[in-house]
């Protein structure tokens, strides 16, 4: 299996899909440059530059998908989805239901997300919670190159709307554009295993809605995704010193959630920690809690999330985003509750 970066893995999957299926097209702002490799290969009709009109071109993606294309629409940063939210909430996710199941929208929305490079809370949000709060949508959040490629392939193959979120801290070019700018005077806490890794060639689809246990352990179930997953793994290493062995689960999809995996792991360990870079309220942690509660799993529960608007100062940002210390402390507290 060739090794590649997280970013390359995504474009590799997109390229594979475009090669296999003429109907796959991609458009968005600056894609000629951002996807220049695809542009050179597939040309301007399939890799199309858009004006700064997210509302219109995302809704156009809905129409294009209805009429036979399989568009991958880029919203540069997921924060900007706010100006195009109607296309998801009232259009893309409504068509199948309103048409009585007779029409569907094979649309992929691709956006970068997440923080950790000092860009503040209007450009560093995760928003998978917001995006998951409507029927008819899937939201995937890969944490490593292999899953990134596999989930991109599945997203394109899916006959219904999928939001594909690409964490900027894992994605070398995004981080370079928005954070490094070619400097050697700054550094970011990039999880190596997420930013680079082996990817099957051709990529193998990863099913949407399926999580995966990435670390065995019986004391506690830690559920997470994206960059936070790597923070959890680091915390898990440190927890060994406390004699705590957590299972760590990469949910991979925020929606639909892998109910079975969540319930089975939580029932086994009896303790649950949700670590979510997205906002605490009305988010992933709540939905996991509800799934468990309605399945009758009465586990001890804690969450480490982003509780407020992400501040600009790197030092403050580091405290607001879930970090290894907070995760470790929450885990230790949880295990101390019912030793």
């Amino acid at each position: 299996m060739p090794e590649m970066t997280f970013a390359r893995a995504i474009d590799f999957a997109l390229e594979t899909a475009m090669e296999r299926d003429e109907r796959v097209v991609t458009f968005g702002e600056d894609v000629t440059m951002l996807r220049r490799d695809l542009f050179v290969r597939f040309g301007p009709s399939r890799v199309r530059q858009a004006p700064i009109s997210e509302a219109a071109f995302l809704a156009a993606g809905v129409g294009a998908a209805m009429a036979g294309l399989r568009p991958v629409v880029e919203i540069m940063l997921v924060d900007f989805i706010a100006v195009a939210f109607d296309a998801l909430l009232n259009q893309a996710t409504k068509v199948k239901a309103f048409s009585g199941g007779k029409w569907n929208v094979p649309l992929v929305v691709r956006a970068s997300c997440g923080g950790g490079y000092g860009d503040a809370g209007q450009h560093e949000q995760c928003l998978w919670g917001l995006l998951s709060g409507m029927p008819g949508i899937s939201v995937v959040v890969p944490s490593n190159p292999k899953d990134a490629a596999g989930l991109m392939l599945s997203s394109i193959e899916c006959d219904d709307p999928v939001v594909f979120l690409e964490h900027k801290l894992l994605s070398d070019y995004w981080l370079d554009y928005l954070g490094l700018g070619g400097r050697e005077t700054v550094s970011f806490d990039v999880p190596e295993a997420g930013a680079r890794g082996e990817v099957p060639s051709p990529p193998v689809p990863v099913p949407i809605g399926k999580g995966i246990k990435v670390r065995e352990g019986g004391d506690l179930s830690i559920f997470s995704l994206g960059v936070s997953l790597h923070r959890c793994l680091e915390a898990a290493n440190q927890l060994e010193d406390y004699g705590i062995k957590p299972a760590v689960i990469d949910l991979r999809s925020a929606c639909p959630l892998d109910r079975e995996l969540i319930v089975s792991s939580a029932s086994r360990t009896g303790r649950v920690l949700v670590v979510d870079e997205d906002y605490a309220g009305y988010g992933l942690s709540g939905e996991v809690a509800a799934l468990l509660a309605e399945s009758g799993v009465k586990a001890d529960f804690a969450r480490v999330c982003t509780e407020e608007v992400i501040p600009y100062a790197r030092r403050l940002e580091d405290e607001v985003l879930p970090n290894v210390r907070r995760i470790r402390e929450a885990a230790v507290r949880l295990c101390a509750l019912s030793p």
Binding site: F57, G63, A67, N90
Partner: protein, 344 residues
């Protein structure tokens, strides 16, 4: 090319009788929610759809029935949908604001302005998969202040999309006179985005037909989008049961409902600036009056105006055919829905 007056009139008559049938079903309580009729827009629907062929797409707004009917949607399925029946066009799940016909590549949406970017998407797919096919986006003049629609005007030009924007200018957005919240003139606004824009009298089907022909032709030839601004009346108010129109229909009852709180506001204490309150009452009265004047005095029924294009005999024949077809469809739909016995 010359218009076929019979074909155009047939489209209009079918559309009108469907609207009337919807109105009757609505009155009987068989249709729920906000029922926006397109009565008054038949000439626009007919003049535009007459140029469409298989594979062309339509993005529709909350008055979506006339274009669908004019283009030939299955009427029984349409009425069944309105009745919320599982054999309806959308299995009873969409209803009048969310009619979808995959066969006709037509979709409607109740979010004002959303038909324009949806139309861009349809046109994009045509450009890529079916060169020579076109899309049409229908919307009202009030929608032209909606951001995504304005973006769509630009997008269509930037991507040279085979798209025709059709703005049905009935001068009103619910109770708002669009002119009072709209800067500049709409045709000029459209042109400023770099596309041709034509104003037409949307009650004259032959004029609409001509303008639409040019626009569709341009789109088919790959020369990009156009904009048609067609004035037309809103014969049934904003939606069925429009409370402002009820003022005219049931003046006493409505005045009793609306009046007292208004008077209370007029005289509410402290009584500062009482003098300036009176003209405001006037503003409200004026809005209502204007609606009434436009409705009963100024407005022109497109069917009446287009009748002149035909011999009296042809008109009568077409109307009879259309009326029968619609009546039969309603009948069949009611029967299927088990509502026949109630048919008044």
């Amino acid at each position: 090319m010359r218009p076929d007056p019979e074909d155009l009139y047939r489209r209009m008559a079918r559309a009108r009788f469907c609207e009337e049938a919807l109105s009757a079903l609505w009155e009987r309580g068989l249709i729920s929610g906000e029922m926006h009729l397109g009565a008054g827009e038949e000439a626009v629907a007919a003049g535009v759809t007459a140029h469409l062929e298989e594979g062309d797409a339509m993005a529709l707004d909350h008055r979506s029935t006339p274009p669908l009917v004019a283009r030939g949607v299955d009427l029984v399925a349409l009425f069944l949908e309105m009745l919320g029946h599982e054999e309806g066009l959308c299995a009873g799940k969409g209803g009048h604001m969310h009619l979808f016909s995959r066969d006709l590549l037509s979709a409607s949406s109740g979010i004002v302005g959303s038909s324009a970017p949806l139309g861009c998407g349809f046109a994009l797919a045509a450009q890529y998969l079916n060169p020579g096919k076109v899309a049409v986006a229908f919307f009202g003049e009030g929608a032209v202040n909606q951001g995504m629609l304005l973006e769509a005007l630009n997008l269509a030009v930037a991507w040279k999309l085979p798209l025709v924007f059709v703005c049905k200018d009935n001068r009103w957005a619910i109770t708002t006179r669009s002119r009072e919240v709209t800067g500049g003139r709409l045709a000029r606004r459209a042109r400023s985005f770099g596309m041709p824009a034509t104003r037409v009298d949307g009650t004259r089907v032959e004029k609409v037909w001509e303008a639409a022909g040019r626009a569709v032709e341009r789109a088919r030839a790959g020369h990009g989008p156009s904009f048609i601004l067609a004035s037309c009346p809103r014969l049934q108010g904003h939606f069925l049961g429009d409370p402002l129109l009820r003022v005219f229909r049931e003046p006493l009852r409505q005045t009793l409902e609306i009046g007292p709180p208004l008077l209370r506001s007029l005289f509410s204490r402290p009584l500062t600036a009482l003098a300036s309150r009176v003209p405001r009452l006037g503003t409200i009265g004026k809005t209502i009056a204007l609606l009434g004047v436009e409705r009963y005095v100024l407005e022109r029924d497109p069917l009446q105006r287009s009748a002149a294009l035909l011999t009296e005999e042809a008109r009568r024949r077409l109307e009879e055919e259309a009326r029968r077809e619609v009546a039969e469809a309603v009948e069949r739909a009611l029967e299927t829905a088990g509502r026949r016995e109630e048919n008044a």
